[in-house]
Symmetry: C2
Subunit: 491 residues, 2 copies
């Protein structure tokens, strides 16, 4: 009996009502089918992962969308692409259930983060391979975990339910987005244009990782997200560091001095008003955090971290605060390609996460005001030589328009309790997070579909999402399929 | 009459002694020959520039060395390669002059800085092209100015002298190095192994740019140089900036905070003892700086600099102080390839220039001590996970072993005065710099060849050396040839 089977047995032991017993019989049938069809699921998953899916690659995005539409159609589901001029299509599917009391929408996204193939070890990002890590199989490819894994789990759940001859009790809809990693620039507009199709009593957002303990997690919100790219200018051409050193300003040094002042040594943001407006957690939310596993020590070991930020607060608490993070930084070259130059410019990409009570435009403005307060003349496009000459210090700050605010769904809503119950029927006791640290455009979904959102992630926490060597632990895929089966049976 | 001819006429007007008149007759003959052979010189120069010459590319380095040896031999000069296990060869040539009182050694280097072809505009770095800039022709290629241009000037000077049937009065030697841009790691050892060949009364170091005014310059020293690469570590893999932001330390932010404290807002280095030991300039040196053109305002305009470092001191004064400069900086990716990650590591390459009175080992140590004082455990190779876990902050600092100290030759030596006189006979009044900002391994030359060094650069100041789009203004090549002719006639 493997770990997965133990969990199923534990779930049976925990749920003793008649409905739960019925549900568990179905779960066992599904589990049996699943065990026999792992190879076929992996074959389909590999095909899906082999199509590049960076949101800016329009042709490949369409190949992904067409494949997903056909995968739904082959399962007898009414599927189509929801399109909008200039947008990547949403793959939409619908299962109508006579006399259903409720409509449940499953959201996931089929696009993935940009890739740097040279940073991948052992396989190219769109050439999926399965490798053992600590004795467990994982599949390595861009979007294996973020977020094609969730889509594959939903597709396999449909197969399992059909094989087990289990009928749906609600209307089921699928909304699979194609530009989430690009900031979901058109999501709200497409949803608005198709309000009747995408409306639902609840949107189940299948994205992100589960708790680092490995326990199934249900999440009631996500941080908002916005970006700023800051470029600092030196001379209009790179200068010999010997012939001009001490005289020509070094934009890399200027950038470090600008960025260094944004945080203290414990990671607290020093930009004025950065934490203003943050809505404190309620009692239920605080209780959920108190009950959640504390993985901080194990994580520090796993990640090789000799210290952590946050002044002693634990990770789950810190995820309920806004962040300022340097995603990347560059000036001239380093290592073997380094030259004896004073770079001409230096760039940093910043990622600002938001929590409920803050607004991304305002948060961007706080950072820009801070840059100004440090003596910079701020422009939003390439400055001319005249502009550079007219100001001692010039910073180009480009904001990300495709940003959004944070969302938190109250944990005491009836639908919230029912989702928890459904997931626990398949997977045992779940971890409840008031918010996830990552960002999903929940606000756009809630506004356009007039609904609540609850996030049910399936990926292992150490999946390298947004980095090279992204992967999904196969056990998380099998568990995820069973989670999806349970959610699709909700009444 | 073009600018070059004007200069020649000015030189004639200035020098009225008999010897100067004789010298000027020769100069005019040379000038005449040169005007008729520009195309042939450019053809040879293009061939030379077409061979890649990054010091680490051994095969191409040998192709450069063989070509240069044959170019000397075709001119009837006894030439050979001076070699040492693991070193790029020195191209050596010798012209023995019966009854010569003096031996003059012409130093240049045939290797060039590393290249990043994608940063070059209009031509690949080893595909030379001639383009007009502000109505003047320039040749664009790696090493056009640094330092194959000087070698070409010396070769063409030999042709011109032969054509004008001018005899040498001294022994002339050529030492052309093949790893100067890699820090001259073997120069001293090769020179020591061939002391008899390389000894001379003076080494004329033909490297670097002339004064920004365009006037011919004679330089009496060079700053020393050493490098440090600092790597700061975060988690052992890149982390999702949402799921770990506020908790996992960001090595890019840590690096900015470390570097930012190394300098104040005016560019003064704050590292303790950084300026200790600096030998002040003497009266002759101060006078030379006072007499030199002040190009700072024009340079600021040209370079688009809204402010300069140095607290009001002028460029020439600042070149006589040590520097700390960020050559390059990197963490994860920026721009279109940026991801929502907390980078796993952040790197900065630092370049430290030294002046007389400081020693590079000590200067490296001052920086490393500073890193330690900021709470870092410093290692010199990749730290294990155990090391990362055992210390709150870990920095890997790799020093450059191929470093050297600064050198200044007294400006009142007889040979110094004679070199100035020879150059002025061809080019009119020269600018005298006590030191150049850039670095040349003058110390290794002086120790191994038991000689003095005086630097006679020929390149235009805006030659983009050490950067993309390196170029040599052709007029600087023609002027440089005449300068070399004058120096080769020294008695």
């Amino acid at each position: 009996m493997n770990f997965r089977e133990l969990i199923v047995v534990a779930a049976i032991a925990v749920n003793v009502t008649a409905q739960a017993q019925s549900s568990n019989r179905a779960t066992l049938a599904v589990h049996q089918w699943l065990t026999e069809h792992e190879a076929r699921i992996l074959q389909q998953f590999t095909t899906l992962l082999s199509i590049p899916n960076v949101a800016s690659g329009h042709e490949n995005i369409l190949r992904n969308a067409d494949l997903l539409k056909s995968m739904l159609q082959k399962r007898g589901i009414d599927a189509r692409l929801l399109t909008l001029e200039g947008a990547n299509p949403i793959v939409f599917g619908e299962i109508g259930t006579p006399n259903a009391k409720r409509t449940i929408v499953f959201y996931a996204h089929y696009d993935g983060q940009p890739v740097t193939p040279s940073e991948w070890e052992g396989n190219a990002p769109f050439t999926p391979v399965i490798r053992k890590v600590n004795g467990e199989d994982r599949i390595y490819a861009r979007s294996a975990s973020d977020d094609k894994g969730a889509i594959m789990a939903q597709l396999a759940a449909l197969d399992a339910l059909r094989a087990a001859q289990i009928r749906f009790r609600s209307n089921i809809r699928f909304v699979w987005e194609g530009e989430e990693e690009a900031g979901s620039p058109h999501l709200e507009a497409i949803l608005n244009a198709h309000h009747d199709l995408v409306h639902g009593d609840v949107w189940l957002v299948c994205d992100g990782p589960v708790d680092q303990s490995g326990q199934q997690t249900v999440v009631f919100g996500a941080r908002g997200d916005t970006h700023l790219e800051i470029t600092i200018f030196g001379a209009i051409r790179g200068l010999h560091s010997g012939h001009y050193g001490n005289w020509a300003p070094n934009p890399a040094m200027m950038l470090t001095q600008l960025l260094a002042g944004m945080k203290d040594q414990e990671g607290n943001v020093l930009i004025p008003q950065f934490y203003d407006g943050v809505l404190p957690l309620g009692n239920l939310e605080k209780q959920a955090i108190a009950e959640a596993p504390v993985n901080d020590g194990a994580l520090r070991q796993e990640l090789g971290l000799g210290h952590v930020d946050g002044g002693g607060k634990k990770l789950l608490d810190l995820l309920n605060l806004p962040t300022l993070n340097i995603n990347g930084m560059a000036a001239a070259n380093v290592g073997a390609r380094a030259n004896n130059v004073i770079p001409s410019r230096a760039v940093a990409d910043l990622d600002l996460r938001l929590v409920v009570g803050e607004h991304w435009q305002e948060q961007q403005k706080r950072v820009i005001d801070y840059v100004r307060s440090q003596g910079y003349f701020v422009v939003d496009s390439e400055p001319s030589r005249e502009v550079l000459l007219a100001h001692p210090r010039v910073a180009m700050v480009k904001g990300d328009d495709f940003s959004y605010d944070a969302v938190r769904t109250p944990m005491d809503l009836p639908i919230a309790k029912e989702v928890i119950e459904a997931v626990e029927s398949a997977r045992g006791k779940v971890v409840k997070w008031p918010t996830m640290g990552g960002s999903v455009p929940l606000g756009a979904m809630e506004r356009a579909a007039n609904t609540h959102t609850i996030t049910v992630p399936i990926a292992n926490h150490d999946n390298n999402q947004h980095s090279s060597n992204e992967n999904l632990r196969l056990q998380n895929l099998w568990d995820g399929i069973e989670t999806m089966v349970a959610l699709m049976q909700m009444e």
